[in-house]
C-alpha cells in the first residue's frame, strides 16, 4: 500500500472518529441525562486528533528512517571485491537501487512472477538485457553479490512497507478506539483536545530548532569526514585552491576567503554610502511626493531575485566594464570580475541598507533634532553631527547584516565573479568566492566521498559560522541601540 493511500485512509479514519466521538458523547448525555463537560464537537475533535496525528507522525518517521536502515543492511552485503578499481561504494549502491527499481518494474510489467524472481540468478539469467527492457540501463554485467543485494533491498523494502502499513493502521485504530472508549460525560474533552493542539503548536515551533540542528549536524558531520582525509591545516592555511579529478588536490580556503572578502568589500562600498544617503534623503528631506515614488522603487530592488541580478552582471555590467574600462586601461579582459560582482551585489544591497537605516534614523528622537535646530544648526549639520552619531550603533548593525548577506550571496558571484581562485588585487580580474566553490564542488561529477566534494561542507561550515557570527553581533548591536531610545 503506498504511503499516499495509507495517509488518506488514516485521515479518513480521523474524520470518521470525529463523528463517532461526537455521536457517542451525545448519546451518552441523553442516556445518562447528565450534562456534557464540553461541547460535543470537542469529543469528536479529541478522537479525531488521537486517531490521525500519532499515526501520521509514525508514518513520516518510518518513511524517513526505513531507507537509512535498509541501506546500511544492504551495504553490509556488498563485499569490497565487487567494487571496481577506482570506483566507489556509493556508485555500487546506486546500481543496487536501480536494479531493485528495475525488478519492481519487471514485476509491474507482468514479465515475471515473485517465484521466478527468486529463481533468478545473476550468473545464469541475463539480468542486464532484461533490465534494459524495462528502461534500466546498466553499464556492465551484474555481479552476483550486487544482484543479491538488490533482491534483498527489494525484499526489505517490501517487508518494511508492509510492516509500516500494519503499524500505522494498528496505531490509528488503537489510539482512536482507546479515546473513543474513554468518552464519558465528565471527560474534559475540551482540555484534552486543546492540550493536544498546544502540543502540536509547540512541535511546529520546534521545527526551527530542528532545522538549525539539521544544518549544523549535516555540516559538521561531513566536515569531520573531510578532515579525516584532508589535513585541516592545509585547508585553513594553504593559499592554493586547485581541485583535481584524480586526487592530489590542493584545497586551501584562503584564496576563496580573499575573493569573498574582496567582492563583499566592493559591494559594501557601493551599498553603504548610497543606501545610507537614500535613507537620509527619504527620511529627512524628500517631499511626500518624491518619497511616494522613490521608496517603492527602491523596495522593488529588494524583491528582485538574485538570479536576475546575476543575469544583469553576466550580460550587461560585466561586458560593459570589460569593454569600456578594463580593456582600454589594459587592466584585464574578463567580463566576470570582482568589480562586476561587487557592483551588482552592491545594487542588490542598497535597499537592504537603506530600509534598515531608515528604521534606525527614524528611531532617533525628534527632540534631539529640535535641540540642534534650536541652536541654529542647519539640517545637514544636524544630520551629520547629531542624528548620525546617535544612530551610529544601529547603522553599524545594518552594515554588518549587509556584510553577512554579501558573503552568503551565491548567484551573483556564480554568474559575475568568475571561477578562478586567486589572491590578487586587481578588481578587474576574475576571482572566486566560497559560495561559488560550494556550488561547483557539489554540482560536479566527482564522487561524494572524495575530498573534492566533501570540501564543500567544510566551506559551507565556514560560511555558516561567519554569517552567524556577523548576524548575532549585528542583532546584539541593533537591540542595544533600540533599548537606548525606548
Amino acid at each position: 500500500m503506498s504511503a499516499g493511500i495509507l495517509s488518506l485512509i488514516v485521515i479518513g479514519l480521523g474524520v470518521l472518529g470525529y463523528f463517532l466521538g461526537r455521536g457517542r458523547a451525545l448519546s451518552l448525555a441523553t442516556a445518562t441525562g447528565r450534562k456534557l463537560h464540553s461541547l460535543p464537537g470537542y469529543y469528536g475533535q479529541s478522537v479525531a486528533l488521537f486517531t490521525a496525528v500519532p499515526a501520521l507522525l509514525l508514518m513520516a518517521a518510518w518513511l524517513f528512517l526505513q531507507p537509512v536502515l535498509i541501506d546500511s543492511r544492504v551495504n553490509a552485503m556488498i563485499p569490497d571485491s565487487v567494487i571496481p578499481e577506482g570506483g566507489a561504494r556509493s556508485l555500487v549502491m546506486a546500481d543496487v537501487r536501480r536494479i531493485a527499481d528495475g525488478l519492481d518494474a519487471m514485476m509491474a510489467d507482468g514479465g515475471i512472477s515473485e517465484n521466478e524472481l527468486d529463481q533468478m540468478r545473476a550468473d545464469i539469467t541475463n539480468i542486464r538485457s532484461r533490465l534494459a527492457n524495462v528502461g534500466v540501463a546498466l553499464g556492465s554485467d551484474v555481479p552476483v553479490a550486487v544482484f543479491d543485494a538488490a533482491k534483498e533491498m527489494r525484499q526489505s523494502s517490501k517487508t518494511g512497507a508492509l510492516a509500516m502499513t500494519i503499524a500505522v493502521l494498528v496505531l490509528t485504530l488503537g489510539a482512536g478506539g482507546w479515546t473513543l472508549m474513554r468518552i464519558n460525560t465528565d471527560l474534559r474533552a475540551r482540555n484534552i483536545s486543546e492540550n493536544f493542539v498546544k502540543a502540536l503548536l509547540i512541535g511546529a515551533s520546534l521545527v526551527a530548532i530542528l532545522t538549525t540542528v539539521g544544518i549544523v549536524s549535516s555540516l559538521l558531520f561531513e566536515t569531520i569526514n573531510f578532515f579525516k582525509i584532508y589535513p585541516a591545516k592545509d585547508f585553513f592555511f594553504s593559499t592554493v585552491w586547485n581541485p583535481q579529478f584524480r586526487g592530489g588536490s590542493d584545497l586551501g580556503i584562503l584564496p576563496l576567503l580573499w575573493g569573498t572578502f574582496y567582492v563583499s568589500l566592493v559591494a559594501l562600498l557601493v551599498a553603504v554610502p548610497v543606501g545610507l544617503m537614500i535613507a537620509i534623503y527619504l527620511a529627512e528631506y524628500a517631499s511626500k511626493h518624491v518619497r511616494s515614488v522613490a521608496k517603492p522603487a527602491i523596495e522593488v530592488l529588494a524583491g528582485i531575485p538574485t538570479i536576475v541580478y546575476g543575469l544583469f552582471a553576466l550580460i550587461t555590467v560585466g561586458p560593459f566594464l570589460r569593454d569600456y574600462i578594463a580593456e582600454p586601461l589594459g587592466l584585464g579582459s574578463s567580463s566576470s570580475s570582482v568589480l562586476t560582482a561587487g557592483l551588482v551585489m552592491g545594487i542588490m544591497l542598497i535597499p537592504f541598507v537603506s530600509s534598515l537605516s531608515d528604521d534606525i534614523i527614524n528611531a532617533v528622537p525628534q527632540s534631539m533634532r529640535d535641540g540642534s535646530y534650536g541652536l541654529g544648526a542647519t539640517q545637514s549639520e544636524t544630520i551629520k553631527q547629531v542624528v548620525l552619531p546617535a544612530a551610529l550603533p544601529g547603522v553599524v548593525g545594518a552594515v554588518l547584516l549587509a556584510a553577512s548577506r554579501a558573503i552568503g550571496e551565491t548567484m551573483i558571484v556564480v554568474m559575475g565573479a568568475g571561477a578562478a581562485a586567486k589572491l590578487g588585487l586587481n578588481p578587474f580580474e576574475a576571482m572566486t568566492t566560497v559560495t561559488v566553490k560550494i556550488v561547483s564542488q557539489l554540482t560536479g561529477d566527482t564522487e561524494f566521498a572524495s575530498p573534492e566534494t566533501l570540501v564543500a561542507f567544510a566551506l559551507g561550515l565556514t560560511l555558516f559560522v561567519f554569517t552567524l557570527g556577523l548576524n548575532i553581533l549585528a542583532l546584539y548591536i541593533v537591540r542595544k541601540y533600540r533599548e537606548q531610545y525606548e
Binding site: V207, F221, I307, T378
Partner: protein
C-alpha cells in the same frame, strides 16, 4: 552662583546684533554645504532608481524577443514509402522510423517551397537550404505522425521552427558579417531566409511554445521552452504553501500567544531570527545531506526543492505572522476570555481570523522569495537537463523537474548566445509571476487593512 562676570559679547568679540536680513559669509558657506549634502541625497536616490531602471530595461531588451519566434511554413508530403514501408499502418512499425527518417521529407518540402517561390540562392544546395529548419523539426513531425498515423500519404501544412541562427538573424543577433565567421550559418542561408520571408513562407509569430515546451539541447535554443520549469516551480510552490503556512502559523501562535517567557522560548526566537539570515546556499547543503543522502529522496525532485524552500521560507512567514498577531489588540483577547472562552478558543475564534490578512500577505511574500530562489536548488540537482514533464501530483512531486530560476541559470551556462535571450525571457516570466504575487499581497493588505 553669580560667578560669571564676562560680558555677553563673547571672547572672540564677534559682532553681535548684526542684521538678520543679510547673510553673513559663514551662513552662506554653511548653506552651500547644506545644498551639497542635499545634492548627494538626490544623487543617491537617483542611483537607486537608475539601477532599477537599468536592471529591468536590460532584462526586457534582451528578453522581449524570446516571446516571438521564427517559423517556416512548409507543405510536407508524409511519404508512405519512407514512414510506413509495410503499408499496413501498424503503429509499432511506424514508430521504428527515427527522426532521421523524417529529415529527408522536410528537405524535400523545403526544396519545393524554394522552387515554388523562386527563392533559390546561388551556391546553396538542398541540404544547406534545409538547415534553415530547426533540428527539432523532424521530432515534431514524428510526434505528429505517431499521433495521426492516418495522415500518412497526405501532404500536410506544418509550421516548423526555424533554426536558432535564422531566428537570431531576424532578431538582430546574427548579421551577414557574423555569419561569415560562423560555422553554423552562411550569408547565403540568410539571403534565402530573407527571400522566404518576403514570400511569406517564413513568419515571425508569438512564441507559445516558450511557455509549454520542455528544455532543449545545447544546439537547439530555438526549441527550448519553460514548460517543465514552470511546472516544477508550481509543484514546489504548492509544497511550500502546504507545509510552511500551517507550520509557520502554528509556530507563531505558540510563540506569540502561549509560550512562557523562559530560556526555551528565547532559544527558539533567536533560532528563528538567525535562520532568516542563514545564506540560502546553506539550506541547499542541508537538503543535499538530509533529504537526499539520508532520507533517500530522489535528486532533482520538486519534493526536495519544496522541503528546502519550506525551511527557508518558514522564518519569513513566522516573522510576518507574529507581527500580524501582535497587531490584533489585546482588548479582543480580553473580550473573548471575559465571556468564558478558553485561551485556545480566543486565539482560534477571534485573534487568528483577524490576523489572517496579514498572515496571508506575509505568506505570499515568502512564497515570492521562494519562487526566485536559485542557489539551494542547484545543490539538490535541479540544474539537471530535464525534458520529460513530471507526472501529475502527488507522484509528480518525486519526478525530476526543473524550476524557473534554475532554468535561467542553466541557460546562461550554455554557449549559444540565443540562450541569453531565452534566459532573459524566462526572467521576464519569473518577474511577471512575482509581480502578480506582490500585487495580490498589496491588494489583500489594502482590502483588509484595519485600523484599531
Amino acid at each position: 552662583m553669580t560667578d560669571f562676570t564676562s560680558s555677553p559679547t563673547g571672547a572672540n568679540g564677534r559682532r553681535r546684533g548684526g542684521s538678520l536680513l543679510e547673510l553673513d559669509a559663514r551662513t552662506k558657506r554653511r548653506n552651500a554645504s547644506e545644498a551639497r549634502f542635499r545634492l548627494m541625497g538626490v544623487i543617491a536616490v537617483s542611483i537607486g532608481v537608475i539601477a532599477l531602471i537599468g536592471l529591468l530595461s536590460s532584462i526586457l531588451m534582451n528578453g522581449a524577443s524570446s516571446f516571438r519566434q521564427t517559423y517556416i511554413t512548409l507543405n510536407v508530403f508524409l511519404d508512405p514509402a519512407k514512414l510506413d514501408k509495410a503499408g499496413d499502418g501498424d503503429l509499432e512499425k511506424i514508430a521504428k522510423v527515427t527522426t532521421f527518417g523524417y529529415a529527408p521529407l522536410i528537405q524535400k518540402a523545403m526544396e519545393a517551397a524554394i522552387k515554388e517561390n523562386g527563392a533559390a540562392v546561388d551556391g546553396l544546395n538542398a541540404k544547406k537550404a534545409a538547415e534553415l529548419i530547426s533540428k527539432e523539426a523532424p521530432a515534431d513531425l514524428r510526434r505528429f505522425v505517431l499521433a495521426n498515423p492516418d495522415k500518412i500519404g497526405e501532404t500536410v501544412e506544418f509550421s516548423l521552427l526555424a533554426a536558432g541562427r535564422i531566428d537570431g538573424y531576424f532578431k538582430g543577433r546574427v548579421t551577414m558579417e557574423s555569419a561569415q565567421l560562423d560555422r553554423n550559418i552562411s550569408p547565403e542561408q540568410l539571403m534565402l531566409a530573407d527571400k522566404l520571408k518576403q514570400a511569406g513562407v517564413l513568419q515571425i509569430k508569438f512564441n507559445w511554445a516558450f511557455f509549454t515546451a520542455p528544455d532543449a539541447s545545447d544546439t537547439r535554443p530555438e526549441a527550448a521552452g519553460l514548460g517543465v520549469a514552470i511546472l516544477g516551480s508550481i509543484y514546489m510552490m504548492l509544497i511550500v504553501l502546504c507545509l510552511s503556512l500551517p507550520l509557520g502559523v502554528a509556530a507563531s501562535i505558540y510563540l506569540e500567544e502561549f509560550a512562557p517567557q523562559n530560556r526555551w522560548t528565547d532559544l527558539i526566537e533567536v533560532n528563528i531570527s538567525n535562520l532568516a539570515a542563514v545564506p540560502s546556499i546553506v539550506f541547499g547543503i542541508l537538503g543535499l545531506a538530509i533529504f537526499i543522502n539520508i532520507a533517500g529522496l530522489p535528486q532533482s525532485a520538486p519534493v526536495v526543492g519544496g522541503l528546502v524552500l519550506t525551511l527557508m521560507t518558514l522564518p519569513t512567514i513566522i516573522i510576518a505572522t507574529r507581527a500580524a498577531l501582535k497587531a490584533v489588540p489585546p482588548s479582543i483577547r480580553d473580550a473573548a476570555l471575559g465571556i468564558g472562552a478558553s485561551k485556545m478558543q480566543s486565539v482560534f475564534h477571534h485573534v487568528l481570523p483577524l490576523a489572517m490578512p496579514g498572515i496571508l500577505t506575509g505568506t505570499i511574500i515568502g512564497l515570492a522569495q521562494a519562487l526566485g530562489e536559485t542557489a539551494p536548488l542547484l545543490l539538490i540537482g535541479m540544474v539537471a537537463f530535464v525534458r520529460e514533464y513530471p507526472a501529475s501530483p502527488p507522484e509528480g512531486f518525486f519526478d525530476p523537474a526543473s524550476a524557473l530560476p534554475v532554468q535561467v541559470y542553466n541557460w546562461t551556462t550554455r554557449g549559444d548566445p540565443a540562450f541569453v535571450e531565452r534566459a532573459s525571457g524566462a526572467i521576464i516570466v519569473l518577474l511577471v509571476f512575482l509581480v502578480i504575487m506582490n500585487i495580490a499581497a498589496i491588494m489583500l493588505r489594502r482590502r483588509f487593512e484595519r485600523r484599531w
